[in-house]
Symmetry: C2
Subunit: 202 residues, 2 copies
DNA sequence: GTCTATAGCCAGATAGAC
DNA sequence: GTCTATCTGGCTATAGAC
């Protein structure tokens, strides 16, 4: 049975907080702005979430636990390498078009709080052995050119994630308005996987 | 004749400010921290740079005017496409290893201040027509597979820039220490250009 | 639970002695 | 030009009425 999504004060606050924190980050966010966005009083934020720090942590955990499983797909899914690349590209870009500030937010806050990284990954350390084996086998079978699993993983991540993180830079350099940009991103759902597969296939 | 680099109070302050601003961004940076880093008094910062905002702008302009010409190379250099890709990859990665926080800083602040983008690019709007023509000709000549200039530009940027922007995420997922990470980045000076060229060459 | 008013702190900026 | 001391504003957090 699926839990019904009531619009509680907590969820209203959390949603408002996500919008502001994702765009501005911890330091630049003002509790007043979150209160305004949620249509409530500033004191209410503290009633429900004690402090800015705790509210921020709730937002960050939610963001990270949304993103991490998607990246884990690359490492742990059971399908073939090319299917993996196609699926991830398709799914990730579709998802991130709806949450464009999310990767940037996570990366930003990880940069500011290096101790976060240790805490987050110490609980459930990702293991790329399976992915590495898959690459090695595909190389041995003559399906793909030799490449390190780490480098391929970085390349997949880079081609999918960067356009959203670096959106303002890209828009500036290519002189694109929001509409042009979105069209390019839409194309990338297949463009990127073709690019990667062409780069490695024999 | 090359102007000699004296170590003036201004330059000391600016260098200290770069270190802090690049890592923490505008909002999270404290003037006191910059003063400590520069080994001077907080009042001196205001004596030389009026306000935090003005000091920040000096740092940002310096960062942007370092990065922009490198990206322009892709669009405007006169060499062949494959050489362009090889040169940029080699040069950019070598450079950024020494200034790892720079792209993240610029992207971050562009995200927070959308009006920045307009101001920065309105003065000297980059023009990708030349690059687009080059791609179209190489496609026509049967040198490379059909690809949009915009998509190729984004891919080159993504593969080179992202690993540094997303470093904490990558280190976490691949369980790398700083040393492992640096080794991978060194490999990428040739790895990335090979990857791109394999993806597009016929 | 929800609000108004305010306490308390922190950081940017300045006054003024040297 | 350089410092110490201090002002001022803004922001988080809480007290307390309802």
């Amino acid at each position: 049975m699926i839990t019904k999504e009531h619009s509680t004060p907590e969820s209203n606050i959390l949603n408002a907080a996500k919008g502001i924190f994702h765009r501005k980050g911890m330091a630049a966010t003002r509790m007043q702005e979150i209160a305004d966005e949620a249509g409530i009083n500033k004191a209410m934020l503290h009633y429900y979430y004690r402090s800015k720090q705790l509210l921020f942590e709730a937002v960050f955990k939610s963001a990270f636990s949304t993103l991490a499983p998607q990246l884990n797909e690359i490492i742990n899914a059971d399908n073939s390498l090319f299917d993996k690349i196609r699926n991830f590209t398709q799914n990730y870009i579709s998802f991130i078009v709806k949450h464009p500030y999310l990767p940037n937010f996570i990366i930003q806050e990880l940069n500011r709080n290096p101790e976060f990284v240790e805490k987050l990954f110490s609980e459930k350390m990702p293991n790329i052995d399976k992915f590495r084996k898959q690459i090695e086998n595909d190389v041995k079978d003559g399906l793909i050119k030799p490449i390190k699993a780490e480098q391929l993983f970085i390349n997949i991540l880079a081609l999918n994630v960067f356009p959203f993180v670096g959106a303002p830079l890209i828009k500036g350099f290519l002189n694109l308005d929001d509409d042009d940009f979105l069209k390019l991103m839409h194309e990338r759902k297949t463009e990127v996987s073709n690019f990667i597969i062409n780069a490695i296939k024999i």
